[in-house]
Amino acid sequence: MKKTLAVFQKEIKHFFYSPIAYIVIAAFTLIAGIFFYLYLSSFVEAAMMDMYRSQQFRQAPQRFNINLQLIRPFFWNLALISLFVLPLVTMRLYSEEKKSGTVELLYTSPLSVANIVLGKFFAGIVFYLVMLIPSFLFMGLLFIYGDPEIGPVLSGYLGLILLGSAFISGGLFISSLTENQIIAAIGGFGLSLLLWVIGWASNYSGPGLASVLNYLSIINHFEDFAQGVIDSKHLIYYLLFSTFGVYLTFKSVESIKWRS
């Protein structure tokens, strides 16, 4: 446990001592901000138009739901940006150690594979949490100037974190296979994207396969969270997915140690 913590702390230092962390966080926040601005503008415009129309035709104004019409698509976009950005976070987690030869230090120290892999995985998660913090600002604005429900916002963040942990576990696994960070980034992105779009194929397959594909699709499980529903089915999917990714990393690290 202490050794896992040591690896974790070292990874966190790597993140924040290098400019990559700040660039990644800035890019994530900027793109999220643009999406937020666009959604907010169109939401406000629609609400204004409706108010104008209701006065003109002396009708009761429509009820606009800020959770459904603004926050939900915004969460979906945060998930999409995570898809692009997280491979850049996970790419160096393992590859860099292999490239610089520091794996020799890790493997010849009294560390278990679990110490190494879990330390790195949780460092990735914590980095992702830090990356999400600036988006609280956007949500805060909505709470100041509107009255959204807090529930769907919290469940949306929970969904994002679970989705992110799935991406991170997959990216960590890919990173453990190569000493080239570019390959690790592209591989991690490819894997995440594949799991994202795999559900689309269900439209063109038989009913049996369709349900499998839909289940595998990483984004299908996110919908409910964004709408404020925490379904244990989806929770378990993400937890299983992350565990599996960490397990594969574990196995790949072990095999590197024992391959002849």
């Binding site: 202490k2 050794k3 913590l5 040591a6 690896v7 702390q9 070292k10 230092k13 790597h14 001592y17 290098s18 610089s100 030869g101 520091t102 794996v103 020799e104 230090l105 890790l106 493997y107 010849t108 120290s109 009294p110 560390l111 110490n115 140690k257 024992w258 002849s260």
Partner: protein, 312 residues
Amino acid sequence: MIEVRGLTRYYGEKRAIHNVSFEVRKGEVLGLLGPNAAGKTTAMKILTCYMPPTSGNAKVSGYDVWDQPMEIKKITGYLPENPPLYNDLNVLEYLDFVAKIKGIPADQRKPAIASAVEKAALGDVQKQVIGSLSKGFKQRVGLGQALLNDPHILVLDEPTVGLDPRQIIEIRELIKRLGGDHTIILSTHILPEVEMTCGRVVIINEGEVVAEDTPENLTKRLKGSERTIVEVVGDEKAALSTIKAFSEVIKVNQEKIAKNNHLRLTIETSSDIRNDLAHALVKKGLGLYELRTEAYSLEEIFLHLTTKEEVA
């Protein structure tokens, strides 16, 4: 302390080491000597439990590399060929991380780091980011890391590569000091290093042990006979015939020294004939400028052993 028995390791089809066996006693400094790609690093990686052998076995301090790698890792310090450093951490942060993963308890960490900093002479750079250090300092940070858990066994893979001459001398002094308390294996292809620091040498070539002995014995073993160097001025034919008249002489090589036109003769003999030779040469009226015996250097032994030439 370390027992290596029939170690063999393949990388895919490629054989890195084959049937390597040797022993290291407690407190001894053993040199693994061999040309590049001879299998020194492979042997060290197996001993430090970085990877297992394909076959064979090794015991470190009674622990088996197959069954108890964790125990071995706890008592071993390893400096790989490229020091395993994190360039974005500073020296103290790095050593602190290594201390933690080596399981040094929190209350002993500070003194352990301080003593490693002192031993590796890192005092001046301890707050510096590792990436900004010179090659020599990086090597020393790597060494500091290896010394951190006060290991019973130190495995150093080419510890003096990339250092300037003064640093090399310092590191060698350090290694000599550490021997005795620590059991040390160091690999190198620099021969004087072995002669200066190691109590015993194992020479590896193409993955196999070709010789194992003390540096002195290796030198003796190569040559039961002596080699005498003579520098004379005068009648060269007379000098040659005088020398060849001795029954102890096995072989004579001659060369002209360009700058003073003296004749240098390298004579292989079965025993020391310097005294008689001097008398004989002077009697012939030759000017005798130099007369000395010379032992074969480790370089020559090394070349003989690793180029598969017949040793005289």
